[in-house]
């Protein structure tokens, strides 16, 4: 990936305009060049973004953290606060003066972590509040549902936390973009680490949340561990939100498996992990080996919920505030100063998505979604905390390093629950987009009549 940004007429125009040093001019030029009617074209002095996060239900705390990050991002875009990653993000066309000279405002909505409610709330933002972009969310089902809605209505969707392969796989959409990593990448990153730490002769027992995200993760982890020589003893589906997992845990003890893989997220993960530890699984010896538990997708907030039980347990993460790079430090600092706690990976992804969108608009020189999408597709950037990152044009998935994290044995503070065990390079987790199929769809065709 040598080319940073595809040279284009649009970019060229923008560049020359900047050279002209008149900030208003490029808007004038570009607006003239691409003046067309599109959904919620902002005409006043402000532009509105829609942040659709879970405010009620099991992920409410994560939604709250996402909202904090969005607020911060909007402040930074408007040139308030210390600017956070605005300073480290490159190549950046952000001005700190709103987007295309318009002050950024935002509205919020409650997804309730239900596809229906999330779509209703997204439609409210688009139809009533006239938002130009929708972002946020904390579940793959919601992300896929809102993403296809945004395609239908012609509004760009910058996904929040969504980990299913489907979001940028078989359900990918032209108008949807995902910064977060996916189950496939988790599998690849985790596979080698697990083989290193626990050996190649292991029998894994999967407990999987019985819905699409769980299945894609189970499949990805299975493939990755089996490639390392592991066997899969059994893969058992558990109902979502079961609360008590004991009836699924008891068979594990006599199955001959020596690793338990919990393909759960959120409350399910907190409960299944807590209960697995209560069943004494971490003190057991099976086949002459220490029994181990793995949680492929970690989240800081869930780690807080599981408390001491996460100690020494491997998983993967999109980002951690403890990463030692300029972008991460700048963001953790401004977030910490504003809210008194470090940001979670969900907050990070939402913050970055907002900045990336704003930058794409500045690059395109217009809010017109087809142009913004083209500016995001194939965009290569750095300084957002994950090292050099590519927004791949073929499936709108970000490619960057993946973190393998481990529950901290001796946390120094309540925020120090997870520590970065290994950073798996971007090349290792890059895959061929065709393996998941799917169709991005057209650039045009969405309407939000009404």
């Amino acid at each position: 990936m040598t080319k940073l940004i595809r040279p284009s007429r649009r970019r060229f125009l923008h560049g020359t305009a900047l050279a002209g040093a008149a900030l208003a001019t490029p808007t004038f030029f570009t607006r003239g060049a691409w003046a067309q009617d599109f959904c919620n074209n902002p005409t006043g002095s402000t532009v509105t973004l829609g942040f659709n996060v879970p405010q009620t239900g099991p992920y409410a705390e994560e939604g709250k953290d996402e909202l904090r990050a969005f607020e911060l991002a909007v402040q930074h875009l408007n040139g308030e606060g210390d600017g956070g990653m605005m300073a480290t993000f490159k190549p950046s066309n952000l001005t700190g003066n709103g987007v295309l000279g318009k002050k950024v405002e935002f509205v919020t909505g409650d997804t309730q972590t239900k596809s229906d409610a999330a779509r209703a709330s997204a439609r409210r933002m688009i139809e009533k509040d006239k938002v130009i972009m929708v972002s946020g969310g904390s579940s793959s089902g919601v992300a896929v549902a809102v993403q296809s809605l945004c395609q239908e209505m012609g509004v760009v969707f910058m996904a929040g936390l969504t980990h299913s392969n489907d979001t940028t796989g078989k359900d990918k959409r032209r108008y949807g973009f995902r910064h977060f990593f996916n189950a496939y990448q988790s599998g690849v990153a985790l596979g080698s680490v697990l083989a290193e730490a626990y050996g190649k002769d292991r029998r894994a027992y999967h407990l999987t949340a019985d819905y699409t995200w769980g299945w894609t993760q189970e499949e990805s982890i299975k493939n990755a561990t089996e490639a390392q020589g592991w066997e899969t003893a059994q893969a058992v589906r558990t109902p979502l939100g079961a609360g008590d997992f004991s009836q699924y845990l008891t068979p594990v003890l006599n199955s001959g498996a020596d690793v338990l893989i919990l393909n759960h997220y959120g409350g399910d993960m907190v409960n299944s992990l807590t209960q697995a530890v209560q069943f004494g699984m971490r003190d057991k010896q099976v086949n002459g080996k220490q029994f181990e538990i793995v949680v492929p997708l970690y989240s800081e907030l869930m780690a807080e919920g599981a408390g001491e039980n996460v100690k020494g347990i491997f998983g993967t993460s999109n980002w951690s505030w403890q990463l030692d790079n300029d972008g991460s430090k700048a963001f953790a600092k401004s977030f910490g100063q504003a809210y008194g706690r470090p940001p979670s990976q969900a907050a990070h992804t939402c913050y970055v998505q907002t900045l990336l969108y704003a930058n794409a608009v500045e690059t395109a020189g217009t809010f017109a979604p087809p142009e913004v999408i083209k500016a995001l597709e194939g965009f290569e950037f750095d300084g957002m905390g994950n090292g050099p990152t590519l927004y791949r044009a073929e499936d709108h998935q970000c490619f960057k390093d993946v973190l393998v994290v481990k529950g901290n044995d001796n946390p120094t503070s309540q925020f120090d629950l997870l520590s970065v065990y290994k950073v798996v390079g971007r090349d290792e987790v890059t895959y061929d987009p065709s393996i998941f199929g799917g169709e991005l769809g057209p650039y045009d065709g969405g309407t939000c009549a009404g």
């Binding site: 405010q55 009620t56 409410a60 939604g63 709250k64 509205v107 919020t108 909505g109 409650d110 239900k114 596809s115 229906d116 409610a117 779509r119 209703a120 709330s121 439609r123 409210r124 933002m125 139809e127 009533k128 509040d129 579940s139 793959s140 089902g141 896929v144 549902a145 296809s148 809605l149 395609q151 239908e152 209505m153 489907d166 359900d171 019985d210 819905y211 699409t212 995200w213 589906r237 109902p239 979502l240 169709e439 769809g441 057209p442 045009d444 065709g445 969405g446 309407t447 939000c448 009549a449 009404g450």
Partner: protein, 407 residues
């Protein structure tokens, strides 16, 4: 029972004055109260009044885009929801309000309707009409099956049976039936679906498939007009049912089922008919949900969704014609508008107050909006039921009575 029985003074918006006991109780404190038979059984509502009520309702529904403007609710998605959940609640009321049988599984029919409509879009045509017809019929089939079994029991046992069926539908739709329902993500219309009928006419090729009715796409206001029209039809049908001898029969069952059987009526077929009609209403509502937004998710069938329609009906006023619609509007309004208010919106709203006081007002109000919208809803439920036992309709009736007294 301390409240005055109002059925002798028929109100424009009601058919029976007071909700009856849902279940029978042992302690003997609730006598199975006989409604005064004379006015109940006689066709005491002049058809003129029904006509006036229908017209008024029609005006209210079709002018929603105007009078909802000041409430910030005049955008297509929410108005569609008002109409759709209005249909759902009006249909639920045909069972609960007329017969007193409290179903806790009506969301299953809503879900079935949605899935059927989306499958009709996928397999047959993007035209709305076959989708609505199929979803109503399919929900009817489910209602026959579930109703036939559930109606063998009454009271709380009936409620739990319907709840059990709905929860089974939900759990299976989420997991094992994913090939049919697409699980958590929800069933969607895709551009490469077969759409047999459309492809016959060569109109199947679309980049972004959208439901339509003879070329008019169901985006935005067109969707609302469709839903509003369906709501009007549903309302008129419900009115006809309520006023018909069949409706009288159902109310007879509600006041005393045993007596009905003693006089020689076999109540079961009547109950089943009411159950199926009410299920078909739910199916229609589900189908419309898919029409205006072609995605069917399993959460639609969860018990919370069934509980929601119960709450809508009771909140508005069970047993009344317009009450359930009002309940639906209020709950959906809270879910969509209150949940989106943040502190900055509050600041705007209260900007007419001096800043020093404004801060305190905003501080006092903010727990009830935004992420606290559930709290407002809970408080509203309690206030309404404590002070207005007959639901909001009772409140309007009281105000009406005040005016009448004043005159």
């Amino acid at each position: 029972m301390d409240r005055a029985h109002t059925s002798s003074e028929p109100d424009t918006a009601t058919d029976t004055g007071k909700p009856q006991s849902v279940f029978h109780r042992t302690s003997g404190d609730v006598p199975t109260q006989l409604p005064p038979l004379g006015p109940e059984m006689a066709p005491m509502w002049p058809p003129k009044r029904d006509l006036a009520m229908t017209l008024l309702f029609g005006i209210v529904v079709y002018t929603m885009p105007l009078w909802l403007q000041p409430f910030g609710a005049a955008y297509p998605d929410l108005m569609q929801r008002f109409a759709i959940y209005g249909i759902f609640a009006i249909g639920f009321n045909i069972l609960f309000g007329l017969t007193g049988y409290l179903s806790f599984g009506h969301a299953a029919f809503l879900g079935v309707g949605s899935y059927t409509a989306v499958w009709s879009f996928k397999l047959l045509s993007l035209n709305v009409i076959p989708a609505i017809v199929c979803s109503t019929l399919m929900a009817g089939v489910f209602a026959v099956l579930i109703g036939y079994v559930s109606l063998r029991r009454s009271g709380i046992y009936f409620s739990i049976l319907t709840l059990a069926f709905a929860q089974m539908c939900y759990n299976l739709a989420y997991s094992v039936l994913t090939p049919i329902t697409n699980g958590e993500t929800g069933l969607r219309v895709l551009s490469d679906d077969p759409r047999v009928v459309d492809s016959l006419f060569g109109t199947a090729d679309m980049a972004v498939p959208r439901a339509s009715i003879f070329g008019i796409e169901m985006a935005g206001m067109a969707g609302f007009w469709t839903c509003a029209t369906c709501l009007m039809i549903a309302f008129i049908v419900a009115l006809r049912i309520t006023r018909s001898p069949f409706g009288m029969m159902l109310r007879g069952i509600k006041s005393n089922q045993t007596r009905m059987s003693y006089i020689g009526f076999n109540t079961r077929p009547y109950m089943l008919t009411a159950f199926v009609i009410s299920g078909m209403y739910a199916g229609l509502a589900g189908g419309l949900l898919a029409v205006v937004d072609p995605l069917a998710g399993a959460e639609r069938m969860q018990w919370t969704a069934s509980g929601e329609v119960v709450l809508m009906t009771i909140l508005g006023g069970a047993g009344t014609l317009i009450g359930p619609f009002i309940g639906a509007v209020i709950i959906k309004y809270f879910e969509n508008i209150f949940s989106s208010l943040g502190d900055s919106a509050l600041m705007d709203a209260f900007s007419f107050i001096p800043p020093a006081i404004e801060k305190w007002v905003v501080f006092a109000v903010s727990p009830f909006v935004g992420e606290g919208w559930h709290l407002t809803l809970g408080v509203l439920f309690m206030i309404v039921v404590i002070f207005l036992p007959g639901g909001l309709i009772e409140g309007f009736r009281r105000i009406g009575r005040l005016f009448r007294k004043g005159r």
